[in-house]
């Protein structure tokens, strides 16, 4: 096996979910006594390559070019497939994010490879390494086997342990030989400014649902989050209402998160929302409806009016 981790940048920093891909590569390598390599793509990478180069990779390829300043599917696909062909990589591992979810299937096509999205664990069937992933809104697990010589996968960061530290690999600048045509142009990224921790990796998250009744109440939710040093997340209902932008949505079609502590406040617990918080260690549900499905997946519950409980929590913390 010749394993390649595709590491990505996010808003000028290493994407936290790279860690899950690295761990997956380490686990795959251990199975066959192999090594793994990494590639980091972006522009003006600064110290990011050094920061990434401490997990025992054999080589770290660096592709630093203006073409990769903004994420675009086609140049990334071309760059990684060129690298994989040139160096004979046959296991390509990326993280489950809206970037890799977008370009990895295209990459798999370019390499005539089968792909598994959002792998949560490795397993073995008749001596063959297979990949387990969540399907059906996270309500079922499926074991998949890839039959092509090259395997392409994205990794679910909510289920992976931290990678083990190791030595630095040989750093190799790779000229991807990629050009960006005019088929697709980056215009802008509309993003809400937030001083709070990054929702996808925060240890604590305060989740707000339709029960909060108005955008104004997000101020109180934010005050609770700040008391806890937590990120704020939301259900689709809250995002659809325009109270928070889309990057705050947690669930099947939003982010999957695995904080140590999740507060579900005025959230009913629909399967599509539950799909995003399955990995949470402790779920605290605050809901005035004792029958709300959220109590079926919560660890601690209180049947009460959130407009009473939330200010009391802020007060008592």
């Amino acid at each position: 096996m010749n394993i390649l981790v595709v590491a990505e940048m996010q808003l000028g920093k290493l994407k936290p979910s790279n860690r899950a891909s690295i761990r997956m590569a380490q686990d795959l390598a251990k199975k066959d006594g192999d090594s793994f390599s990494m590639v980091l793509l972006g522009h003006q990478l600064g110290d990011a390559a050094n920061e990434l180069n401490r997990f025992g990779a054999k080589k770290l390829f660096v592709i630093d070019a203006p073409e990769f300043e903004h994420y675009l599917a086609k140049p990334l696909t071309d760059a990684v497939s060129n690298l994989a062909r040139e160096h004979g990589f046959d296991r390509i591992v990326g993280c489950e994010a809206t970037t890799a979810r977008d370009f990895f299937p295209r990459l798999a096509g370019a390499l005539d490879a089968g792909m598994c999205r959002g792998v949560s664990a490795l397993c073995e069937v008749n001596g063959e390494t297979c990949y387990q992933r969540a399907v059906f809104s996270g309500m079922a697990l499926r074991t998949e086997r890839i039959h092509t010589p090259i395997h392409v996968m994205t990794v679910d960061p909510t289920t992976m342990d931290d990678p083990t530290e190791g030595g630095a690999g040989e750093v190799v600048a790779f000229d991807a030989g990629v050009t960006v045509g005019d088929e697709i142009r980056f215009v802008e990224l509309r993003r809400a400014k937030s001083e709070r921790p990054d929702l996808s990796v925060a240890d604590r998250v305060v989740g707000a649902g339709r029960g909060i009744k108005s955008a104004e109440y997000l101020e109180t939710i934010g005050a609770l989050a700040d008391k806890l040093g937590a990120a704020v997340g939301a259900t689709r209902a809250v995002v659809d209402a325009g109270w928070l932008p889309n990057e705050f949505q947690v669930g099947q079609t939003g982010k999957a998160i695995a904080p140590k502590l999740y507060f579900a406040i005025g959230i009913s617990g629909a399967v599509q929302h539950a799909a995003g918080i399955r990995g949470a260690k402790t779920i605290v549900a605050i809901n005035k409806d004792a029958e709300a499905p959220i109590f079926k997946i919560a660890d601690i519950g209180i049947v009460a009016d959130l407009f009473d409980v939330v200010p009391q929590l802020i007060e008592g913390l």
């Binding site: 599917a73 490879a113 697990l141 086997r145 697709i184 215009v187 932008p245 889309n246 099947q252």
Partner: protein
């Protein structure tokens, strides 16, 4: 302007997971099918674009006759016709699905293809980008806003990403996959459902398309995820909640 829209019949998302697994494993169980919700968003978008130049909406579905009702309901929303590809009992993977759709795209030469961003059964999200790669077309996935430029040679889209809404300017033809907030799909009315039975329907057979049918990925097993405890510790008031959180060392 011609548009292709893909529609996949999937199990009703409210099906209990054990029943869904039983059906997947061929162990019986009755599962209701619906059209994949994200695909209905794609159909709805095509219909809304009729005001600004879309004249021909063709639904493409890889499905057999038993799931015709889901395709019909999509046509009845306001599409003109459909092309169906019968898998002939084969389990087709993402590659075979994308290649089947590519076959129709090459024949029809639409201005663009609208698809759902993922199917709610296998949540794989692969067919759109695979298809774009096969055709050598640009792709815009997870789209929640679409607008045409003046001469309709390009579209401006907003994509829902982890970092926020990313705005791209995309040359047509392109593959566009639709996210939830793009629109709210309409319901097909009864008269339109009756009319949809007369919509032209082309039927193809997968084995006639000359696509490699060796699966690249196979399903080996299903299981239920390790459940959460299912037994929440219920507390009576905020004071008890606070002591519980502190006792469990979840907060200081």
């Amino acid at each position: 302007m011609k548009v292709l829209v893909t529609v996949k019949p999937v199990a009703d998302p409210n099906t209990p997971p054990a029943a869904w697994i039983a059906e997947q494993e061929g162990k019986g169980g009755s599962v209701n099918d619906v059209a994949n919700y994200f695909d209905l968003i794609a159909v709805e978008q095509a219909i809304r674009l009729k005001d600004i130049g879309v004249t021909d909406i063709c639904i493409v579905s890889v499905t057999d006759d038993s799931k015709m009702a889901q395709v019909r309901s999509a046509i009845a929303m306001g599409a003109n016709r459909a092309t169906l590809i019968d898998p002939e009992g084969k389990q087709l993977g993402a590659y075979q699905l994308a290649a089947s759709i590519a076959h129709v795209v090459k024949k029809e030469e639409p201005a663009f293809v609208l698809m759902g961003k993922q199917a709610t059964d296998d949540d794989a999200s692969q067919v759109g980008p695979l298809l774009a790669g096969m055709l050598g077309w640009p792709q815009a996935t997870f789209v929640s806003e679409i607008g045409f430029n003046d001469d309709r040679s390009r579209v401006t889209v907003g994509r829902e990403t982890d970092e926020g809404v990313e705005v791209l300017d995309v040359k047509l033809p392109a593959i566009i996959t639709c996210d939830l907030r793009l629109n709210e799909p309409r319901y097909a009315t009864l008269p339109n459902l009756i009319k949809s039975k007369k919509a032209p329907m082309e039927r193809l057979k997968f084995t006639d398309l000359g696509i490699e049918d060796k699966p690249r990925v196979t399903v080996e097993a299903y299981s239920l995820p390790p459940g959460r405890s299912g037994k929440a510790k219920m507390v009576a008031d905020t004071a008890e909640l606070l002591t519980t959180l502190k006792d469990m060392k979840l907060v200081d």
